[in-house]
Symmetry: C2
Subunit: 138 residues, 2 copies
Amino acid sequence: MVVSTKGRYALRVVIDIAKYGKNGYVTLSGIAERQGLSEKYLESIIKMLVQKGLVIGLRGKNGGYKLAKDAKEITAWDIISVTENDFYVVACMDPNAPMCDRVDKCVTLPMWKDFSVEMEKFFKKYTIAELAEKELAQ
Amino acid sequence: MVVSTKGRYALRVVIDIAKYGKNGYVTLSGIAERQGLSEKYLESIIKMLVQKGLVIGLRGKNGGYKLAKDAKEITAWDIISVTENDFYVVACMDPNAPMCDRVDKCVTLPMWKDFSVEMEKFFKKYTIAELAEKELAQ
DNA sequence: CATTAACCTTCTACTATAATAGGTTAGTGG
DNA sequence: CCACTAACCTATTATAGTAGAAGGTTAATG
């Protein structure tokens, strides 16, 4: 699978927060219930979003989660690339990977590179604001 | 990783066959040596290509592998989609998966669908013939 | 100060990846 | 016809990621 449940659920979580968090914080239990997903599993997913600064959590009564930025400023790419743990087209595209010794003669490398660019461009087209609006319109 | 070593190596194998199999069969040991990859591992990868009818194997002396079709008729998509075992953008895009009950109200589904189409189109642009020629030109 | 809800650590079952080992079958040439 | 060759086939392994579940801790709030 190109995108696992982590990326897929993370997107639904963020859209849910955008949709229901217009005035205040959205609780994890609320998200889990509306989305029909395990609270505990979502917790581990939302944790990544908090740590990367995409979502802000507040403890205690009336606490919950809110977006760190305006929903218009967050794209599907932001969410997916952060939650999918090696979101590279191929291993060679991982900047932390040891440099391949075939770099200069590899004919498939330009293809992988082009696709990486395409993929990033594609998912950056979708903002959380637009996706949340679509849900509200239904 | 979007594409694992299986898909990546499979592509290199097929390009190698296209390049060195102009007149006759190409042996697995030859491919493994030229590509600097494990013969045993490549065997398991090439097996998938044989079973899917993309490559033909011949046993015995002067045996080896050859492409089942003209290299112009085989695309990168053919190779990757056959060797990557769940090459779907998300689980919902797997035709064998149980139908999701959110299909008609899911706002992310159109995005996943569009990306699936884009991805397939992208990799279908690259034929094995073109990739093999690029290698020869170097 | 009790309640609430996020935060944190650990654990588990399952599956895929990335191989390795060793034996079997089928063509070819002498 | 027989030895050689090279594909074919089955089984096993280590490692890591996915998809959760369990239970306790910390910090706001009223």
